[in-house]
Symmetry: C3
Subunit: 158 residues, 3 copies
Amino acid sequence: MNSPTPAGGRSVEARLDEIESRTEIASLVAGFCEGLDRRDPERFGALWYEDAEFLAPGGRGNFYGLEQIRGVQVAIDTSWARTFHLTTNLVIKFENPDRATGRADCLAIAQSAADGRTTYIEATYFDIFERRDGEWKIASRTTERWFISASFDLPPNA
Amino acid sequence: MNSPTPAGGRSVEARLDEIESRTEIASLVAGFCEGLDRRDPERFGALWYEDAEFLAPGGRGNFYGLEQIRGVQVAIDTSWARTFHLTTNLVIKFENPDRATGRADCLAIAQSAADGRTTYIEATYFDIFERRDGEWKIASRTTERWFISASFDLPPNA
Amino acid sequence: MNSPTPAGGRSVEARLDEIESRTEIASLVAGFCEGLDRRDPERFGALWYEDAEFLAPGGRGNFYGLEQIRGVQVAIDTSWARTFHLTTNLVIKFENPDRATGRADCLAIAQSAADGRTTYIEATYFDIFERRDGEWKIASRTTERWFISASFDLPPNA
């Protein structure tokens, strides 16, 4: 490291690295929405480690490994004609330079494939992100459903 | 400061400090949502200075000091069975290294404790954040209600 | 540049510059919402270059140059009594230090000027940001409508 060390103790390099890691992690959180909403298995799959887990407590299933997690996307594609995920309130905390936890809230607007009716789902994501071989990916995501509306008739008028 | 000073004038240390302060301030904005929605008085209370103010123009009251602000959380807990706050569009401007203003929009989805009906509330927050003794907290939040829907029957179906 | 160069190759100055540029770009994205929702032509107009473009595929029109883009704001003000834009999932990628692309999702809640009914619109923005003479502005925004609800009766009860 060529960077000077400020009075606070951490080097400039370490501080820049953490800041840049935050941006990369935020891109994963956004990419989850994009991958699902655009039905893009390549984008979605690239967010996760091969040994990642995606946990959905409350009887909705726990999925271990990328292959099972890809199956979740297929299931969502089958259940919903369209989804739209908006993630906010992201807070990232570093356990060490290569591992961080995340917490974010998400509003999902989803239109049923079966009857065209719309449901609003509010959820919170509890994540573990890891950097391996220089790249950040999702090691674990636990999605806690917090509120789900009754479906209602709100068809697109476009 | 050991940091070099770039041509622009501000030192690397000052620039890193501001960037890291932005992250801490964004965590306060997210923490407001988490503290309210999870009904966590410890999380909520830790966001504010003892002499903070929480202002809600339009006849909804002005609250001075942490004790009164804690009362707002109690009132929200009483009125609403559940709330879900999504804050976006955060813009932070620094007046000096230890004081910044913030502006953010928030969509709150709230289910009435009285009748179970749901209301959508859109608000904008105008904040003042200060760093005292090395820690950022909210010195002042003014919440401007911008749009409130009629309540409607949207019970949870989970 | 006085900044040291870390092992990774990019100088501290270049890395700080990119991080600070991200903040400025995010402010433009938030400013679009503020400018429209607050009906503030000065705020809205300052986001764009004179030769910017604002494209809305699907028959809604393409607007070239600031004067035409200002006309979009006037049209929105005429059609809607109120709008409320929430932008999330922002991902910024740099092509070079002075040019970046952005992708963001937006939920807009809009109340009709004609009948007071409310419509929820979900859109994705694909942007090009440029820095000229030291200042970041929008060079191009393409807004892709992704979902638009039927209007429904959700009058304000405030």
